[in-house]
Structures are given as C-alpha cells and as structure tokens.
C-alpha cells in the first residue's frame, strides 16, 4: 500500500539516498524492471520519478531520471529501464547490475504529472513505447487503493514483443474493473488484431479515449514526437489543454 507522503526531502532539502537492488525481471528483450530497497522511503505518487546516480570508483558520476513503475511496497520501489543502444547507463543497469549492488537515488520528484487516488474525474492514459512506465504506476495505484475511477489506457508499441507488463495488462487483475486497454501496433500486430498497423491517429484517441465533455484527466507519455501528436489530437478533439499533461523523453544519452 502506498504511503501518503509526497516530499522526498529530509529537513526540506532533497538528498541522495542509498538504494540496493533486491530483485529484477525482464519486461522485454531490451527492458528490465529493477526493485530497489531504499531505507526510510517516504512514499510517492503515481507518475513521479527519481534521479539515479552511478559513481565509478575513480569518482566519475552519471545521473539519469527514471519513472517509478508502481506504488511503494514499504521501502521497496520499482523502476523499469529501457536499454538505449550505446547508452552509458542503461546497458549497465539492464545487463550488468546485479542483486545486492547499489546506486544512489533522490526523489520522489515532480508533483505535476501525477495521479492522486482521491481524484474523481475519469482518466485517459496514452503511452508510447517505454512511456508506459509512469502510466502503469497510475494503473497499479488505482488497483491498490481500490479507486473506482474509470480508466482508459491506449498503449502504442512497435510490436507485441515490445509490450511491457503484457500479462498483467492482458489478464484482468482483481481491482482492475473499470480499466479498459486498447493497443496500437505501429509495425507488427498480433494475429486477430483488427486495427491495421500504423502510427497513432485521431480514430485511436476517439475510440479508445473519453469524450471531452466527460472532462477526463489525460496523461500522455512517450517520445517527443509521439507526445506532440497525441496532445495535438486531444486538444483538437476539444479537450481542455489544462487537462492534458505530458511527459516527453527525447533521444538521450541513456
């Protein structure tokens, strides 16, 4: 069960904390979920992220941001990391980093791209690729808090093999009543999938989303180009821009 605290601060100032890897599992061939134990983790909201800092023995450091993938389980938090080819950090975290190894992290961070279980408005989640991570945190927070707020998730990926959390989303979980999931496959669709492959478009948002007069809160996360297309479609369909929250990630040094 998620604890309520939002601030990651000890005495008001953000600090780096030690975090030890206690468990990991592959999500796809190129993505891995890492479970960390962080002593005295204050809890977080769905949609928040952390900064992770790696230090080599000679003092060289690299810092990256990763979304929290699920509500905290006591002092345990989950991050899902996509391997960026030729990246400096993500290949290490997804391949070499082993149970018992440690990093430093600070957070939880960001109070804007968040969903609070006390909210009553319907929710539309639109994920592009690894942009599913903070949105899955919202789906999971809804489940564990027993929220009955209606959720719709539109999840765009290249192919079925690129789906994160595939089983958890395919098989209805207890508490997931009122969650609808629609898939957009851009390159390769599974057998029996009626939508032709191709980029997300107005029809996908129309069919898989909510009418604007329902005044849903919309969360869009994915690569910059994807987020711009979806946000433009939502506003063109009549959604209040203030209800469309975005989280972009560009080509990075991963």
């Amino acid at each position: 069960m998620a604890r309520a605290a939002v601030s990651g601060r000890l005495g008001g100032r953000l600090t780096w904390r030690g975090a030890r890897l206690v468990e990991s599992r592959d999500e796809t061939a190129a993505a891995r979920t890492l479970m960390f134990e962080v002593p005295d983790w204050p809890g977080h909201l769905a949609g928040q992220h952390v900064d992770v800092r790696l230090s080599a023995e000679d003092g060289y450091q690299a810092v990256r941001s990763y979304s929290l993938a699920a509500p905290a389980d006591g002092d345990r938090i989950a991050l899902s990391v996509q391997r960026v080819p030729d990246g400096e950090v993500s290949p290490y975290l997804t391949q070499d980093f082993a149970v018992g190894d440690s990093v430093e992290l600070r957070g939880p961070l960001g109070g804007w791209f968040v969903w609070r279980p006390a909210e009553r408005d319907p929710v539309l989640l639109v994920a592009g690729g690894s942009g599913i991570v903070p949105l899955m945190a919202m789906v999971r927070a809804r489940r564990v808090t027993g929220s009955r707020v209606p959720f719709r998730l539109i999840y765009s990926v290249r192919s079925p093999a690129d789906l994160y959390y595939a089983d958890e989303l395919r098989v209805p979980q207890p508490g997931d009543g009122g969650l609808d999931v629609a898939y957009v496959f851009t390159r390769e669709a599974p057998d029996g999938h009626s939508r032709p492959t191709g980029r997300i478009a107005v029809a996908d948002i129309n069919n898989g989303g909510w009418p604007p007069e329902f005044e849903p809160n919309c969360f869009v996360c994915g690569p910059t180009g994807f987020v711009e297309i979806v946000a433009d479609i939502l506003v063109a369909l009549g959604h209040d821009p203030r209800r469309v929250k975005t989280e972009r990630f560009g080509p990075t040094g991963g």
Partner: protein, 88 residues
C-alpha cells in the same frame, strides 16, 4: 528532425536541490510573451552545458540552471513571476 527538448518535469530534481518546495508545480508567467503555465510544461533543453527551460508559446528562455561542483547558478529573468501553491 526531432527537437531535443523534454518537459519541465525534468527540473524537479535539479531545482529540488535548491528549493524546499516543488517548483515544477508553480505557475510561471513568461517575461517575453506573457503566457502563463506550469513550470512542468516548459520545454527543457538539457543536452547542453546547463538546463535551459523555454516558453512553449514563444520559445523565449524562462529559466536557466547551471550546476557547478560547489554552486548552482539560477537565472529566472525570463519569468515575470512564479505562483507557488502553498498549503493554506
């Protein structure tokens, strides 16, 4: 070509080193065009020697943050003001 920017959400960690409140939820008013919006919705360029946050309306620079080993330089001349929500 895709532009190399992200959302102002990315400022939460770097600004969290400086401020005791989450500045990304603050509403800023752009000094160049007068547009208002959350800091979290600025366009952040961070593949650079520092963080540069620009107005999504006019691309004017709203905020710059440079972190040195022992200091942070913060330039907010591009924001007329920040409305920071506080508990009543």
């Amino acid at each position: 070509m895709t532009e190399l920017y992200e959302d102002g959400n990315a400022l939460a960690g770097p600004l969290g080193e400086i401020f005791a409140v989450d500045v990304t939820v603050a509403i800023q008013r752009c000094a160049h065009c007068g547009r208002t919006g959350p800091v979290a919705a600025l366009r952040v360029y961070r593949h650079a020697p520092g963080l540069v946050a620009r107005c999504p309306g006019c691309d004017g620079v709203v905020l710059r943050l440079v972190r040195t080993p022992d200091a942070a330089f913060l330039d907010l001349t591009g924001a007329l003001n920040l409305r920071i929500p506080l508990e009543a």
